[in-house]
């Protein structure tokens, strides 16, 4: 019988810390003096007035809600109690960072939602308690650590309006993502020289560029691969729309042009403001997905010159079969580099075991696609998309616990399909596809568009990646497959290798998924996509698709706000589609300050 190994390796949590408490105390003093200054400089009279205003507003809202309930017929009251509220725009209040209250989803679903809320907090506390002090101290160094405290709010935003099986599937999936987040936050804090400073763990840590898929680390089961900028930059920007703003400002002040993609800009900016932990044995940089990311590695070398770097690079014209072996050669060189830097040995058995799991997960994914292509799509919404991207890029079969989640979700999905359930009850009006990269600061946009207009996003471009089963026996072929997989990472699969991969592919997918509306994101700094806008526009017109262009600036909500993004859809739906909103309260609301 196969020996069960725990994931992640419990030794990583138990690795001895070397906290410099003297330095910590100095930092506490500094943070304390900042807080002191803030207290002194705050206009408490204004704060009091503001709080009073909010309290009155809350009271007024409660009164209105009570009055509205009172005016309802018995049937309406029963429906509200059983199925939940339908006017979600009322949950927003101008200037607030969170909704005014949690959503009422009906008795059963609200109870379930609350259970998941408790389960999430329980998991977070349990994970952080594995080594609490470094993580606590890290919150005094890194503002992004604080943003993670809102992860439960993020969960709420992404499940807004969901009921029944759809809600259950979303919760099941997001739990796995946040378990991964919590574990990695603990590791980051433990390794960071300013915090845990665990020399024992640092020897085992290989930092991988956040844009590099994690599968290569599956062959090193004794090492800990951490997508370096994922927590401080990439993922947190989906939780808190304002996280990357200081990074972007810092690097632009440094001299970087403002037209650069906000992903590498934010990564470099995080280095400028010292928001990345100093840690690890070596770093794997990459050329992926696009030109801007290639360049960020020289900023990394500049900030941490003591960290040996390997540049993992793959052919751009990845469909040329003659280039596959070039990619495989680079993977071999990368494995050799990791072995040299860490003393660990590549383990084919461990790699193949992970790839078998990854193949299983891919099979589950394809099953989801099959269901969503039918008249009764089941698993839709932002959580599914986030899970797909995380599972494909970061987990990649490494964590055996994820298989259990996949099985559970697919079982729920098939049951719901047999019952012909509606994931957005009463809101299944249009079949939509998202193309190009979505705005991080509006990760739950597909939730809004479903709730407001009944446009159900069945799939996003970034999910449609490599689905060929990975080789799990022949070593040479396995490396070639790994190269193919990396070359088709999220975004890169479409934006690299020629226009056909993103233009012709769109039309093929529209047909396969029977799409009515294309949500065409336009990241204003993405040159790969921008250079095709005319062709996409022309061909969409020729083919008769409704294509709604939505500009955004990926991680910088100041350039194009969420409200402006929504405005583009509202305008198109009203003027071109002559449609009526499903929930008119969601047409206009203020979420500029919302996390």
């Amino acid at each position: 019988m196969e020996k069960k190994t725990k994931y992640p390796n419990p030794k990583f949590f138990r690795a001895k810390d070397n906290i410099d408490w003297k330095a910590q105390i100095e930092n506490f003093k500094e943070v304390g003096s900042i807080i002191g200054d803030m207290v002194k400089e705050t206009d408490w009279k204004a704060v009091k007035e503001k709080m009073k205003g909010k309290a009155l507003n809350t009271l007024d809202r409660i009164k209105k809600e009570a009055a509205s309930f009172k005016q309802m017929s018995t049937a309406e009251k029963a429906d509200l109690i059983k199925n939940g509220e339908k006017q979600l725009g009322k949950l927003y209040r101008n200037g607030d960072m969170a909704t005014v209250r949690r959503e009422w989803r009906g008795v059963k679903d609200t109870a379930y939602d609350f259970y998941e809320w408790c389960r999430m907090w329980g998991m977070l506390l349990a994970t952080f308690s594995k080594d609490l002090f470094p993580a606590l101290n890290a919150t005094f160094y890194y503002r992004w650590m604080i943003s993670y405290m809102c992860c439960v709010g993020f969960m709420d935003k992404n499940t807004l309006g969901q009921r029944g099986t759809a809600l259950r599937m979303s919760h099941t999936l997001i739990y796995d993502i946040f378990r991964y987040v919590a574990e990695n936050l603990v590791f980051l804090a433990k390794c960071d020289k300013k915090n845990g400073n665990s020399a024992e763990l640092n020897k085992k840590v290989v930092l991988v560029d956040e844009m590099t898929m994690g599968q290569i680390m599956a062959g090193f089961p004794d090492l800990l691969g951490i997508p370096y900028q994922l927590m401080p930059v990439f993922l947190v920007s989906e939780i808190d729309q304002l996280t990357c703003v200081p990074y972007i400002d810092a690097v632009e002040s440094f001299g970087l042009p403002a037209d650069a993609c906000p992903v590498p800009s934010s990564e470099c900016g995080a280095l400028v403001v010292d928001a990345l932990p100093h840690m690890g044995q070596c770093f794997i940089s990459s050329s992926m997905p696009c030109d801007g990311s290639v360049m960020a590695s020289s900023y990394m070398s500049r900030r941490f010159p003591d960290l040996p770097v390997f540049h993992l690079t793959f052919p751009v014209r990845y469909e040329y079969e003659e280039t596959v072996e070039d990619g495989a050669e680079d993977i071999k060189a990368c494995i050799k580099f990791i072995e040299e830097q860490t003393g660990a040995k590549w383990n084919w058995d461990a790699y193949f075991a992970a790839m078998k799991r990854f193949n299983q997960e891919t099979a589950f994914e394809l099953e989801k696609w099959e269901v969503n292509k039918t008249q009764y799509p089941q698993l839709i919404g932002p959580v599914y998309e986030l899970f797909r991207k995380w599972n494909y890029e970061m987990d990649g079969g490494a964590d055996p616990r994820v298989i259990k989640t996949c099985k559970k979700v697919n079982k729920l999905m098939l049951q719901a399909y047999e019952r012909k359930e509606e994931p957005w009850v009463g809101k299944m009006k249009y079949r939509g596809i998202v193309w190009s990269c979505p705005a991080h600061y509006y990760a739950n946009f597909s939730n809004w568009i479903a709730n407001c207009w009944g446009v159900d996003i069945l799939v996003e471009m970034e999910s449609l990646n490599f689905t060929k089963p990975m080789e799990t026996e022949d070593k040479e072929k396995a490396l070639m497959d790994l190269a193919r997989l990396y070359e088709r990472m999220v975004m890169r699969r479409h934006t690299n290798g020629g226009y056909k991969n993103v233009v012709d592919e769109l039309w093929a997918q529209c047909e396969a998924w029977n799409i009515d509306i294309i949500i065409m994101y336009q990241n204003v700094a993405c040159k790969n996509m921008a250079t095709l806008q005319g062709i996409l526009d022309e061909q969409a017109r020729d083919k008769g698709y409704h294509m709604i262009w939505i500009e955004h600036d990926l991680m910088d909500p100041r350039t194009v706000s969420r409200k402006t993004m929504r405005g583009k859809v509202n305008e198109y739906m009203r003027t071109v589609m002559k449609a009526e909103p499903v929930d008119p309260t969601l047409l206009e609301f203020d979420d500029e300050n919302m996390m």
Partner: protein, 398 residues
């Protein structure tokens, strides 16, 4: 200084991609192969009956149609070429040797195909894959790409002889051009050079955009002329500058800098002489193609090369050139919206100032820079700052 005999002729040649010498070569039955990037070894496009044309879009005005296709925040060089292609300005080409090195330029090649900008039956556009670092296996990958995706295509479409002997013959002619331009370029090292940066830019550009065979006699004559040229008694410049950065195919840019009182003494940019005008020394023991590919990879100064050794090489080259050519400061420039040089410029302009102790001016610029009042002001200010530094260094003596 007395005007160079052929300067106006050279300037006229640069007014159109399809210039007089290109037309002459075409009339002689030769095949024009366009390219844009150093990643395509120029010498490979000059084999047999082919000749290379590094394409530009001189006298670019509106680029509205290209902007419709490629948006308004992408590389203006790529957009200007697309616009010119749509206008029919590249109909003379028989092939386009493209590289997938930067996404925006790649999209230009793709639009060339998508919008059917050239209707010749055998016309081809290649998309070759470029490595990001110089390792044994990446050199092999590059050689493979040049063979399969470029030379074999030329043979297949037009029956071009791409044998080892044909490549070596092309190298000989290429080397003569390089020797002449290197010799002329060295003249910029003098305290009071007999050639201006603008003139050198013109000479270098015609060597990239005209058939080698036809431009060589003019270059030979110009070299002899320069050997006997007398500089002005008093130098007409107040500071010497080296340029480092991305694509500059517009000599008016150099002129603008020189109008502000500087002398451009070194040109380390795409379309410049470093890299591009180094002599290729071939041995007989290895195929010429392999040697050429390795040579181009090693000499490339493209910011796309990600590996630590190439990153260091770029900084060392900038420092070396500035020293060799006695520059007072360095201008780091990038074509607006260029991702590679945007990141490189922002970081390295600090490094060159802080670690290498060079006065640095860091700018981004449009494709057509001549009319930029903002750039003029910045160049003037930079020249003044260099002048003040020199005066302070000399104890108050100008």
């Amino acid at each position: 200084m007395k005007d160079l005999k052929h300067l106006i002729y050279f300037e006229n040649l640069l007014d159109n991609a399809d210039n007089e010498l290109v037309e002459k070569a075409k009339a002689d039955g030769k095949l024009a192969i366009g390219y844009t990037c150093y990643h395509i070894p120029e010498v490979l496009l000059n084999v047999d009956n082919c000749f290379s044309v590094r394409i530009r879009a001189p006298r670019t005005g509106s680029i509205d149609i290209a902007t419709y296709y490629m948006s308004n925040y992408t590389c203006e060089y790529a957009r200007a070429l697309t616009e010119r292609g749509i206008e029919g300005g590249f109909n003379f080409l028989d092939g386009l040797a493209g590289v997938d090195a930067c996404s925006m330029m790649n999209r230009f090649y793709e639009h060339f195909e998508l919008l059917k900008m050239n209707s010749k039956p055998n016309f081809f556009v290649t998309h070759t894959d470029m490595p990001y670092k110089v390792e044994g296996y990446s050199v092999k990958a590059y050689i493979k790409q040049m063979r399969i995706r470029l030379l074999d295509v030329m043979t297949e479409k037009y029956g071009v002889d791409t044998s080892d002997a044909a490549i070596r013959k092309a190298v000989e002619e290429h080397n003569e051009v390089c020797k002449i331009l290197t010799e002329i370029g060295q003249m910029r090292k003098a305290d009071n050079p007999v050639i201006t940066g603008y003139e050198y830019h013109i000479l270098n550009l015609v060597s990239y955009t005209c058939p080698k065979k036809y431009i060589l006699p003019y270059l030979r004559e110009t070299l002899e002329e320069l050997k006997g040229r007398k500089p002005d008694a008093k130098p007409a410049f107040r500071a010497r500058v080296a340029i480092v950065g991305s694509e500059i195919d517009d000599p008016e840019f150099t002129k603008l800098i020189e109008e502000c009182g500087a002398r451009v003494v070194s040109d380390r940019y795409c379309f410049g002489s470093t890299p591009g005008r180094e002599v290729i020394e071939l041995n007989d023991s290895e195929p010429a193609l392999d040697q050429i590919c390795r040579f181009y990879m090693q000499h490339s100064e493209c910011a796309r090369y990600i590996s630590d050794d190439k990153v260091a090489q770029r900084r060392e080259t900038a420092d070396r050139l500035a020293k060799e050519y006695n520059a007072d400061g360095i201008i780091y420039e990038q074509m607006k919206f260029c991702d590679f040089w945007g990141f490189e410029r922002a970081l390295v302009s600090h490094i060159m100032a802080d670690e290498y102790k060079w006065p640095v001016l860091s700018i981004d610029r449009p494709y057509n820079a001549k009319s930029s009042g903002q750039l003029r002001t910045r160049f003037q200010a930079f020249v003044e700052s260099l002048e003040i530094k020199r005066i302070n260094k000399n104890g108050g003596v100008a």
